[in-house]
Amino acid sequence: MTLKQKTTDLKKRMRDALKGGGSKAIEKQKATGKMTARERIIAILDPKTFHEYDLFVKHAGKDFDMDKKYLPGDGVITGTGILSGHPVCIYAQDFTVAGGSLGWMHAKKITKIMDHALKLKVPLIGINDSGGARIQEGVNALAGYGEIFYRNTQASGVIPQISVILGPCAGGAVYSPALTDFVFVVDKVSKMFITGPEVVKTVLGEEVSMEELGGARVHAEITGNAHFFAESEDECFDQIKHLISFIPWNNEKKADSFPSKPPKTRVFKIDNIIPTDTRQPYDVCDIIKAICDDSEFFEIQKHFAANIVIGFARLGGQTVGFVANQPKVMAGVLDIDSSDKAARFVRYCDAFNIPLVTLVDLPGYLPGIEQEHAGVIRHGAKVLYAYSEATVPKITVILRKAYGGGYIAMCSHHLKADFVFAWPYAEIAVMGPDGAANIIFKNEIKNAENPDEMRKQKIKEYKKKFANPYVAAAYGYIDAVIEPNETRHFLIHALEISNHKTEIRIKKKHGIPPF
């Protein structure tokens, strides 16, 4: 063959492989409103930056006549590219080829690009759209999953790992996304579950649709498995680009810095947001927007455990992770879900050199038998663990109330916050004034001529003496009591000062967090 013939031969081979599952399967994929795997990769990455590898990989199935079948790319597309200027490794399962099912070589392509990402220290993006294990390959399919999980774990905390669920993701397959940092889901497209509706019905007699069992909304609102919810694939890709702009490529780098921009103070007037009556709600996101650059707050897990708010924003051009109690929902209490949500985010920020800003306004932990029996102790402990362990700059602002265990947990000085600020109407106490007065002045109230009157008087007395930031400030537990409109200034300065913070910890293999 001449060189020209060889080139023609290559082109023909590529054409065949790029057809994927063929026009019929592609049509079917499109009919359900989904893009094809290659279209998805191209839509996410910067134009003309995608470079595909392992296009000619052949599947390894030998039994059940599988050896006679041709599966282009073995149902998965892998490669590298540039995303908003960041180098990334990426793979996308191709549902049009054998339902995106995972066989040994399919898994090998994925683990190869994962190894690449870890060696090159760049983010990894995985697009999941697969019917699950390729049954014909038996234990080799299981082996493939195991190899992926192992690498997910090795890469955890070293490179950002992003999972995009754009189709079914069932059985063992769900554990790879669960091990990664951020999971993106799209309404009516994403489905995740361990055992599908069929099995649930035959084994347990419970009837449920795929959407109700493990649809995008379920994971965004109820389970917390998903971090970002989108109405369409395009919206989802925009969210990924947005996220990438806030985080560093790997654990040795810092996130990109941008020119500092003032917040939109005409819209978000910090003095007008918080009612001084601690029983009245407000939206803490408005406070964040009144403080951060350009009032741009990128919220994570918006619909799950909404009593705590987490997300990225910038202060003076630098990425910070915000953790804030949300008085608008469940009075901002810490409970099982909100503790899990906050603790994991704190560990993420710590792993990737992102300073933490904690805004405190909470009445404590949620009381109740259901919470206690479901293990609020060990879940709540995760917050203490995560904050204590974190060595990135930690800055706390107590906005209003900080009662009891909640005060300690929300990155107090005692968990080694670098700076703790409080607004003038902050109330820091072992419990709310009503409860405290009832206990401390129990006898006076009981023996008074008019107990109700006495109770009211004692609550008032207690409030005046203790429900303020100055008792804590007198012990040095608060570094400065500041006016709300000075907050941004204090935070930016604190970040500048702690820019080179290094903290050496006792050498150990790893801690044992209350998982």
Binding site: T278, R279, V329, G332, P363, L366, E370
Partner: protein, 109 residues
């Protein structure tokens, strides 16, 4: 600025009533029920493959009452009390769902 009328609910924590939204998860939480050892319930949906006892029989702690077959496993269901069988609501071969009351006992001192 136009103020939207928002209806908040109340959450009581340590005698302080906070105005706030409540989550669905909180509203749908299961009410706590005391464990009643005299009522043998199905802990999992399945098939009754064997019943060892009859109405009126005395049983001791640890006595086998029945076999509940589920998830390809034959589960021995045993008595947690010393008592007497008051009522048997099932027969061999019955399919039961979770939380069905299978056998009712009475404490015997």
């Amino acid at each position: 600025m136009e103020e939207k009328k928002i209806i908040y609910k109340t959450l009581n924590i340590e005698n302080i009533k906070y105005k706030t939204f409540l989550t669905n998860k909180f509203l749908l939480r299961q009410q706590y029920q005391k464990n009643d050892l005299t009522k043998i319930t199905a802990f999992i949906p399945g098939k009754i493959s064997k019943i060892y006892v009859k109405k009126g029989r005395k049983v001791k702690i640890g006595d086998k009452l029945l076999i509940l077959e589920a998830m390809k496993m034959k589960n021995d269901i045993i008595s947690s009390i010393n008592g007497i069988i008051m009522q048997i609501n099932i027969k061999e071969g019955d399919l039961v769902t979770k939380k069905d009351i299978l056998i009712e006992l009475k404490y015997l001192n």
